[in-house]
Symmetry: C2
Subunit: 381 residues, 2 copies
């Protein structure tokens, strides 16, 4: 029994994701597809459109056999840490192959990862300008740039992979459909998650996205309750916290460095709206994505000790098919991290406390009960 791994956010799960899972199975010859997926909050510091249980269900019906949660401390991070977390979990799950989509799937990512890039400063600033910095160095050494988001993430996987004790085989495939950042629906049926979200969440309400998503996602879309995003719900909570919390407590928050806590507090005092707040705190030094992540860290009061790599990690099982269950039964003794199938009071207070807090925030915003109310989803296949 052989497994293949994929890494995803599924925000929401669409036809491109289904194609990715099919191809992963085909080219690896695997019996079981393991997806490592962000939880209720995604990499750019925002709430996912559907909760992790809904997105797990979408994935299990469309090609995934096992869904493992990428914990908050890996999922809400810049790309290189997101990649590092995901690969370390797949490695712990004894998955030998990783299939990922790339704009230029012929690229030898493993070779690129060997090019010596001085990323000290990039790691320090945790900024998206990492890409620019990296590309400047890469170009000077190879004459080659990685400008596309999935290519860059592929490079991140390759770097993370090179640091694993037993690296995975990296199998890039051609990404289908529109650009990741493209916000228009595509006639081909392969629209981006961004386009689907923007259509569904109101920018182009009324346009039917059914041709772009599997039936399970479409059912979730049909029952979508108004989403609690940054504006205004999360912003209200953040503003209150910034106004009332002493700067010394704000300073404890992960990535709240270089006096950012004063900048955020001051902006909260003068700005009543999220967009104005973001504009007020923006500088050349920080990208919007980084700032939005810091805002999310603040909302869940994520401190350094909870976010930096090196702490006890775990494999949080969100769902599985019959094939997935077989894999778990056969391999779980070889897993190098504990497999967590059931949430409880001890986990809440210890290793999973940050995920729990993120879950409670999501629960507050959506009214959808999270960790204590769900066992892993089991799909007979």
């Amino acid at each position: 029994m052989r497994a293949v791994g994929v890494v995803a956010e599924y925000n929401p799960f669409h036809n491109g994701h289904r194609y990715h899972l099919q191809r992963a199975r085909e080219i690896s010859g695997a019996d079981v597809v393991v997806a490592v997926m962000s939880g209720n909050f995604v990499q750019r510091g925002a709430a996912a459109m559907f909760n992790k249980w809904q997105r797990t269900n979408e994935a299990l019906h469309n090609g995934a056999d096992i869904v493992i949660e990428l914990p908050f401390h890996w999922a809400v991070q810049p790309a290189h840490l997101f990649a590092q977390g995901a690969l370390s979990l797949l490695s712990a799950l004894q998955v030998p192959d990783l299939v990922f989509g790339a704009e230029h799937e012929q690229t030898d990512f493993t070779a690129l990862a060997r090019v010596g890039i001085n990323d000290t400063q990039a790691f320090k600033t945790f900024n998206e300008t990492y890409a620019t910095l990296f590309n400047d160095q890469l170009e000077s050494q190879t004459g080659f740039r990685l400008d596309q988001p999935n290519d860059i993430l592929g490079y991140g996987y390759a770097v993370a992979n090179s640091r694993l004790q037993t690296p995975l085989n990296l199998l890039p495939i051609k990404r289908v459909g529109r650009d990741y950042h493209d916000s228009l629906l595509d006639n081909s049926g392969y629209s981006s998650a961004t386009a689907i979200r923007q259509t569904v969440l109101g920018h182009r309400r009324g346009v039917n996205v059914a041709a772009n998503v599997p039936a399970e996602t479409f059912a979730d879309i049909r029952h979508l309750t108004p989403m609690a995003g940054w504006s205004p719900q999360m912003w209200q909570l953040l503003r209150h916290e910034l106004l009332m919390t002493p700067v010394a407590s704000l300073h404890e928050v992960y990535q709240m460095s270089e006096g950012l806590e004063f900048r955020l507090k001051e902006a909260a005092e003068t700005q009543a709206h999220w967009d104005d707040f973001l504009t007020a705190i923006k500088t050349k030094r920080y990208t919007y994505t980084r700032l939005q992540r810091v805002c999310l860290y603040t909302l869940v009061h994520a401190v350094n000790a909870e976010m930096v790599p090196g702490q006890p990690d775990y494999l949080r099982l969100l769902g599985f098919t019959t094939a997935g269950q077989n894999y778990l039964n056969v391999y779980k003794k070889r897993f190098t991290l504990p497999l967590i199938t059931r949430f409880d009071q001890t986990l809440k207070k210890t290793t999973l406390n940050l995920d729990y807090r993120a879950g409670m925030l999501y629960e507050m915003l959506t009214g959808q009960a999270q960790d204590f109310r769900h066992d892993p989803i089991r799909l007979e296949s």
Copy 2:
């Protein structure tokens, strides 16, 4: 030029308050009526129906000449501290007389205040059962009980007064109209503030309260925007804070004693609605009013050092008439506390920081700009 003092919340200002101001002027023979009024949050730990500038305006048009804010650290406290703060401010303002309404205005409150009551435990628990405790002792010594809310508050004034270096003359008057706690509108035109609030805020929407309030209050009622009360707005902010803040930080909050922080955090984890939360945290030990105040302290993160008596105090001027201005000009050099007429960055960061935070909370809840956007109201009379 002689002044008389009154203490009030004006939530909202009604005909009974106007009568109180008229009578205060008459029986004291004063030229100027000084009202010490709660700010944006009232004694029982709730947001006032109208902001402090609106309520100041209502009062100035109906008999008050000077309105001074009772700071948050005095206003949101049990009755004995509320009274102590108000009287200390009137004393600092060189006001010789206090006129207050009582159910039994013939009571010799000053004499009652001399009865030795052992209030050590009452002061320690800061509980409304203070009244019961006090009455049991009072009855055993005098055969007399004080069961009515304004009588009890009158006793509080008398006790606070007895501790002043130069006590005021206490002039109780008969309270007109319905009971304080009565929630029904009265045909006499003297309905309680509770009845007016409940009518206006929706319990009996459609009933016209015009006969019970002066024109200025009625104008405010007509332009009332939906009020942000505990449920759901303040509760959402509180729940988020309770869920995310470490217990050690919660423990810093004033009156968060005896493990109450654990009780509140646990209830926030399991209760999604304000009423259910309150029920979950209620014990015999704490009244709802005390718990609601602790919740408000938590929301503004009011710590011990900011709330206990003994810190630098001040006279925050909210508004004045021409007569009031004359009084201020003549007497201000004799005031024993600093008169604050203009809010600024220094005050925000120092003595008025807690009032500022309470103002920002009110501003967030209502969208009505507070301290930085208002100079004292000046009414030509």
